[in-house]
Amino acid sequence: MNSLEFTIQQIINAVSLGSLYAMVAVGLSMVFGILKMTNFAHGDMMMTGSYATVLLSALGVPFPIAIVAGIAVSALTGILAERIAYRPVRGAPDVTLLLTSLALTYVLENLAILIFSGSPRSFPTPDWMNEVFAFSDGAITFTSVDIISSTSAILSLLGLGWFVSHTTTGLGMRAAAEDMAAAALVGLDINRLIVIAFAIASGFAGLAGMLWAAQSGIIEPDMGFSPLLKAFVAAIVGGFGSIAGAVLGGYLLGALEILIVGFGPTELSPYRDAIVFALLIVFLLFRPGGIMQANREVKL
């Protein structure tokens, strides 16, 4: 195998994986920025949207509409989660917020098991999504899903960047993340901003969930869990609370994983997750603000 082609293939894989991590990490980071909350239930927004899409397309709804509706369901789940579970504990110590979100994960996943059963279901992708592109006699291959996930991630993340820097609501969200009390004092509607942040974050998670499902072909109640853990690492490495940092962290993490699997010694690749989480611990210890943010003092 030509090593140049192999490298190109690995870069394609890294961008495709990094796009998914970035889309999940961005939501985590937005919510953390405003509420200082480690949201474990974020991964389940991936799950609710995908189940909604599968359900709708089984009912005969055209696939693109089902996707949009699925993202809407994810956003709605996020809003409901905020309203029912997180708003009553807002302002509590950060461990209370973390535990509430952990409990919510437990509820949502088991609710999905209760309604849809725990066994995996197939995610019906239309044929145009499974089209395979092969170059150099199959040394470089990718599917439409890879293209779609990379382009939709980059476009939507650019859109988000425009939103938080050019619209009043987006600027308000950044102001609330900077200093919530001051933002409230100058008359910003904090509740509205938080609801919008949850809706956007969960919508991104929903989109990522569907792309994840399209790549793996199946959905299951705990499908959001493993990407969520990776997104934690991405968000913290990038700078927890910073949107650009989360995107950067997502792509870096994707690149690192592909680097370990594709180029590292074969004995190393089963330890991929251990290496990723060791990186998380190293960052928490030595650079808790991540790449994008100044070091905040959190250590003794």
Partner: protein
């Protein structure tokens, strides 16, 4: 007087533990064994998470290490040869009784906790939670990949199932006794000062890192012991036995009763175990005369999770907050004396 009362209480408890299995059904005995093991496990969490204020999500990692260490040590030589042929020489010829294996498992966990805690206990708030969760995931990955010690992703089996009720009652009582001695002593006061205000604790000369490390490693010792007991109760387990589901159920017990109260720990374990058993029976489907409810798998967890959220909203410090049953009695006595 007090001491005689305690001794009498212990004696009667031991008697109960011996006699009870003759009276009640196997099912109840199994439930009681689970309650006792969970008391050890949740007790191991309350020290760091509740009293010292460093909320670790990685305790289950120590439970896993405890179960595997004790399992490897107490596996019979014949089973070792067939299940773990690649075991290093010094382990391959050891066959220990459960008690020393359990103690060694606890000590191994405490030693690992000191090494891991030295950097991690410097963190606070949600940083320490996420970092310790990372530790648990790393332990899980290592167990799955350390084939020659743990059979990898396959089930680790052949561990002697010799956990009887008197044994686990003894361990649960010992764990609560040790924790109570530690928590209601000057050291315990130091733990709570570190939780309440790090800067103030440093100002009066408390070594914050050392205090947290003590709580973390003693908790890890108990977690290792609890893991060993759990392993010897189950007989066969895998890396997935000691992962997020176990963590969530232990945290539910811890938080429900109140993580800075030993009475809360015991109550949390009993309430959650009883509730989830009751709900699990309902889950299989119920026939109430003409009405029959179909089986609802997952319903018990949904109810427990909702209960967890309600506790977080309405009583975030748990049912007992930081009170103990004994202090309630004491206050009554004082009131009647005055």
């Amino acid at each position: 007087m007090n001491r005689i009362l305690i001794l009498a209480g212990l004696a009667s408890l031991a008697l109960c533990a011996w006699v009870l299995p003759l009276i009640v059904s196997d099912y109840v005995v199994r439930l009681l064994i689970m309650v006792c093991i969970n008391i050890v496990l949740v007790g191991s969490m309350c020290l760091a998470n509740g009293f010292t204020g460093v909320f670790s999500l990685g305790q289950v990692g120590f439970v896993a290490i405890g179960a595997y260490v004790s399992g490897i040590l107490s596996l019979s030589l014949a089973d070792k040869a067939s299940y773990l042929p690649d075991l290093p020489m010094f382990l391959a010829h050891i066959e220990m009784a459960t008690l020393p294996a359990t103690l060694i498992a606890g000590l191994v966990c405490a030693a690992i906790a000191i090494v891991v805690g030295l950097p991690l206990m410097r963190l606070s708030g949600h940083h320490v939670s996420v970092a310790t969760m990372g530790f648990m995931i790393i332990v899980n990955v290592v167990i799955i990949n350390a084939d020659s010690f743990t059979r990898g992703a396959r089930t680790f089996t052949g561990v002697p199932t010799d956990m009887t009720l008197p044994w686990v009652v003894g361990w649960a009582v010992l764990a609560i006794f040790l924790l109570a001695r530690l928590i209601y002593s000057p050291i315990g006061l130091a733990l709570r000062s570190v939780r309440e205000d790090v800067i103030a604790a440093q100002a009066v000369g408390l070594p914050v890192l050392g205090t947290r490390l003590l709580a973390f490693s003693f908790g890890a010792f108990l977690a290792g012991v609890g893991g060993s007991l759990y392993g010897h109760y189950l007989g066969s387990f895998s890396a997935q036995t000691f992962f997020f589901p176990l963590m969530v159920s232990l945290i539910t017990m811890l938080v429900l009763g109140g993580m800075s109260s030993l009475s809360g720990v015991v109550t949390g374990v009993i309430v959650v175990t009883a509730l989830s058993e009751m709900l699990r029976n309902l889950e299989r489907g119920v026939h109430l005369g003409p009405v029959s409810i179909p089986p609802l798998f997952g319903a018990s967890q949904v109810v427990l999770g909702l209960l967890f959220i309600l506790v977080m909203i309405y009583r975030p410090r748990g049912l007992f907050e930081d009170r103990e049953i004994s202090s309630v009695f004491k206050r009554r006595k004082q009131r009647s004396n005055s």
